[in-house]
């Protein structure tokens, strides 16, 4: 089978970004992917603009204070109520951070930067209810996403969000807390089996004293630090946290661990060990230059092999963002997107645990799949939404009560199905339809299918689609056909 440049370019845009945007539709056929990649990389060169939700220092300061009070477990009515209010405000602001970043993924030309940041957001999974800490960590990730892995690892390890989440504030000479040291090795750098329990204990000693202050800055508390000699991964010395990170990066296993994880994320859930090893060698030699690794991936001929195209299940964020890039949508209440994230199993800033989102087949169960298939019709207003996302007491997103504005109460259906709602949103159809203005009607089906689906439909859908499609006008044909194609299992793949 011949794979056209268009399919290759779309493949690249889905993997290195969040899929083609509606404005790119007519630009693919002429370029080779190498050129597309060069353009993409150039668009991501500039440092990202800080997403500043808790935008004044006082806000951040009080949030920080709330955190410290909580850590001290101070009891007392006033403190408690104040903490509760701070926590609520912080959670509301994390929602804004979520939606603002989501908009960036949709609209930013720096597609590689945002996509790779989402990868690191899962790799360095962190829950922290402090908005100030969360936005700082996100900024560290987005700024270092394409730079040096060593610098990224150091920045994340010294961020208040991660230090708090992995309890390093409690890691003191007198009472070492191993949580941070263990996860740095198990999840961030080496993976299980490449270190011993002794290494964990010794690394924990080296990290003693790392903490943060009220202003959200990293502090090294010398009186909490264990200055004794440590033996770590075969080396001996009076190590501190920076030394541990340096020794971890010296391990070839670290380059392999990251290369394999990125291969699974960007190329195929089933890693090809030959390719992984090739990437790992070069990653290690480049002193962990992430951009070089990405270039190696996205300009390799194997990346464009048939078996790697349309072979990944989109994450819920990929799905939602990809949809919005192709069909620009304005939601009356943007928060409905939080409900989608929740019901589909991926809420930004709320990873399921420290290991991040497992991805792959794990995204799919009956209810998640059926909701995915219905999503386009829900957004287009042709179907009613009746899903109450599960409560999460750490999260208390309070989404249902806040959705009133955007969800017009649907009529209580006569057949006793209970209350369901219409998602109130407007799709910018004219801008989409304009892309097909020169396509003759008989070719529309093929042209739209090729633009929307990376996985080949096993059977021609013509006959099936014909039954469900609105043939009345050209516009209705384009719209109903596109929504139907986006309601297929194939659209879940990229």
């Amino acid at each position: 089978m011949v794979i056209t440049n268009q399919i290759k370019n779309q493949h690249l845009l889905w993997r290195a970004g969040f899929g083609p945007s509606v404005h790119q539709l007519n630009t693919f056929t002429s370029f080779y992917p190498v050129k597309t990649y060069a353009d993409l990389a150039a668009s991501s060169e500039r440092p990202p603009v800080y997403i500043d939700i808790a935008n004044n220092f006082a806000d951040g300061f009080t949030m920080g204070l709330g955190e410290v009070l909580r850590n001290r477990k101070k009891e007392g009515t006033d403190d408690k109520l104040q903490k509760r209010e701070l926590a609520k405000k912080s959670r509301d602001q994390i929602k804004s951070l979520n939606l603002t970043w989501l908009d960036q993924m949709v609209n930013s030309p720096a597609q590689i930067r945002e996509k790779v940041s989402l990868f690191w957001h899962g790799h360095f999974a962190c829950r922290n209810i402090n908005i100030y800490n969360q936005q700082l960590l996100l900024q560290q990730i987005r700024s270092n996403a394409l730079g040096s892995f060593g610098e990224l690892l150091t920045a994340v390890s010294k961020s208040p969000a991660m230090l708090a989440f992995l309890n390093n504030q409690q890691n003191k000479k007198s009472h070492p807390n191993e949580n941070f040291a263990r996860e740095v090795m198990e999840l961030f750098t080496l993976g299980r089996g490449n270190y011993t329990e002794t290494d964990v204990k010794e690394a924990a000693r080296a990290f003693t004293g790392w903490g943060f202050n009220l202003q959200g800055g990293f502090v090294n508390r010398p009186f909490q630090h264990d200055t004794g000699t440590k033996t770590f991964l075969g080396k001996k010395g009076n190590f501190d946290g920076d030394d541990i990170i340096k020794i971890l990066l010296e391990q070839k296993n670290c380059a392999t661990f990251i290369a394999r994880k990125m291969y699974r994320y960007f190329v195929n859930d089933q890693p090809n060990e030959v390719n992984v090893q090739w990437l790992a060698d070069r990653f290690y030699q480049s002193n962990y230059n992430i951009s070089s690794l990405l270039k190696d991936v996205f300009t390799s001929s194997w990346f464009y092999d048939e078996k790697n195209i349309g072979s990944k299940i989109k994450s819920p964020v990929d799905l939602l963002v990809g949809f919005r890039r192709m069909l620009p949508v304005e939601f009356d209440n943007k928060e409905v997107q939080l409900l989608f994230q929740r019901a589909l199993g991926q809420v930004l800033f709320y990873p399921p645990n420290v290991a991040g989102w497992p991805g792959g087949k794990n995204w799919i169960d009956s209810s998640a799949l059926m909701l995915r298939l219905r999503l386009p019709q829900l957004i287009a207003g042709n179907d009613l939404f009746g899903i109450a996302a599960k409560a999460d007491d750490d999260q208390q997103m309070g989404m249902m009560e806040q959705l009133g504005k955007g969800l017009q109460a649907g009529r209580n259906e006569m057949n006793g199905l209970g209350k369901r709602f219409k998602v109130s949103a407007k799709i910018d159809w004219p801008v989409y339809q304009k892309q097909f203005i020169n396509t003759p009607r008989p070719q529309l089906y093929h042209v739209i299918e090729t633009a929307l689906l990376q996985a080949k439909m096993p059977v021609a859908l013509d006959a099936i689609v014909d039954k469900s499609i609105d043939q009345s006008t050209r516009e209705n044909y384009i719209q109903s056909l596109s929504l139907l194609l986006m309601s297929t299992p194939e659209y879940q793949l990229c």
Binding site: E75, G76, T77, K80, L81, R84, R127, D269, S311, I313, R342, A343, G345, Y350, P352, N353, V354, A355, P358, G360, K361, I364, D365, S366, S367, A368, L369, M370, L373, R374, Q377, A380, G381, N382, G386, I387, A389, K390, A391, D392, D393, D394, Q395, N415, L417, G418, P458, V459, I464, K467, S468, D470, S480, L483, L484, S487, T488, P489, E490, L493
Partner: protein, 400 residues
């Protein structure tokens, strides 16, 4: 507007399309009816961290009243079970169950190195992991993996909810979540899905993501059909309270009477996260639980199925022994579990009440690992190899 709804949601029978169906679908066409006497588990998750000490009340314990001057439940109001334990006043139905030998209470259930974060502790309970392990699968999901190797029983574990919990996710098999069989049927019954589903043929290896998606879709459509039909086979005519839990247990009862192949039902009630004004919130939730579970038990008794059904409750953690300053309690550790069945081998208080004098940082110490309860149920009730599912041998308990 675009797609005529009636066309999109046309009713049709999946069975008529069976000739064209790929082989992995065929199996669903003859759902294995389960013989009466089939054991069923109903898991009731109390989300948010239920306060166990105000559930099973140590009404003779001075420490309890000293630590909870405003929140402790009055000795006179507690429903007395033994000369040291009483139930929350809203749990009258559970008191009746206790009296007729269908309630077991297991105290001090938890796990080593407890985590006080809701999401992490729930993760631990649902996955059946230790506190330093991270699993992508749940204990019921792994039961499915072990049970249905080449799964002809996609409805073996059902959750009465819109979103599937981690507990029901296995590596290769996942339970199915729905709130109402009719709505599940409605949303899965679109002609479009049926058409694309039946036209798919699995010429690829099953590992391909596309095959997995189609397999899940086919299972969903087929199961939706099956569940809906079963739910209408012997719909219960007993009265249930008009609460969400009442509706869910009514659905479960109808499915049990239909002899559907479901072995595990999963449902949750919440939120029990009572940092503030605990009294009212717990009262309201317990009233809902009490009415719904009582109706469910009476219904099962009427149909002689109570011996085959085991309902148990759990929460991700209990709460601090001492009340806080806002009329509530903060996150704690060990907690009690209710075991409800007509087939209990051991009833009443199954072990000692928690020791309120020996605390760790103000929290109760655990005596029973919750994975022992899972192991017992998997092995003795569901008749499977618990070690294969939990990854370790846990000492079995003797309540069943």
């Amino acid at each position: 507007m675009l797609i005529r709804r009636r066309q999109f949601l046309q009713v049709g029978s999946l069975a008529t399309a069976s000739v064209m169906m790929p082989k992995f679908l065929k199996a669903f066409e003859q759902p294995n009816a389960v013989p009466a006497g089939n054991k069923v588990v109903v898991v009731l998750q109390l989300s948010g961290g239920n306060d166990g000490l105000n559930t099973v009340i140590p009404y003779r314990n001075d420490v309890y009243y000293r630590e909870r001057p405003g929140l402790g439940i009055d000795k006179a109001k507690a429903l007395r079970l033994t000369d040291e334990a009483g139930l929350h006043p809203a749990l009258t139905g559970f008191k009746n169950l206790f009296d007729d030998g269908s309630l077991g209470i297991l105290n001090s259930v938890g796990y080593p190195n407890p985590d006080r974060s809701h999401f992490r502790s729930m993760d631990i309970w649902q996955s059946g992991s230790k506190s330093n392990q991270y699993f992508d699968t749940g204990w019921v999901g792994r039961y499915l993996d072990a049970q249905c190797h080449c799964c002809d029983k996609p409805t073996q574990a059902l959750e009465l909810d819109d979103v599937l919990s981690l507990a029901l996710k296995g590596n290769n098999n996942k339970g199915l979540a729905f709130k109402d069989p009719r709505r599940l049927f409605g949303t899965s019954n679109a002609q479009f899905y049926k058409d694309i589903s039946k036209n798919y043929s699995d010429h690829h290896h099953d590992e391909q993501p596309a095959d997995y998606l189609y397999k899940t879709m086919a299972e969903t459509l087929s199961s939706a059909d099956y569940i809906y039909k079963q739910s209408r086979l012997h719909p219960t005519n007993s009265a249930y309270p008009k609460s969400e839990l009442g509706n869910s247990l009514q659905t479960i009862a109808s499915l049990i009477f239909s002899e559907i192949n479901t072995k595990v039902y999963y449902l949750s009630l919440g939120s029990f996260d009572t940092h503030v004004n605990q009294g009212n919130q717990q009262q309201r939730l317990f009233t809902e639980m009490n009415e719904a579970v009582s109706a469910f038990v009476n219904d099962l008794k009427k149909s002689n199925r109570f011996e085959d059904v085991l309902l148990f409750s759990f929460s991700e953690f209990g709460r601090r022994v001492a009340q806080n300053a806002s009329g509530g309690t903060d996150h704690g550790t060990a907690n009690n579990m209710f075991l409800v069945s007509g087939g209990l081998k051991q009833q009443g208080l199954l072990n000692a009440m928690p020791d309120l004098t020996t605390l760790t940082e103000g929290d109760l110490n655990y005596e029973v690992d919750f994975k022992q309860v899972y192991a017992t149920i998997l092995n003795k009730w569901l008749g499977v190899d618990d070690k294969a599912i939990l990854g370790e041998t846990y000492r079995h308990l003797s309540f069943i």
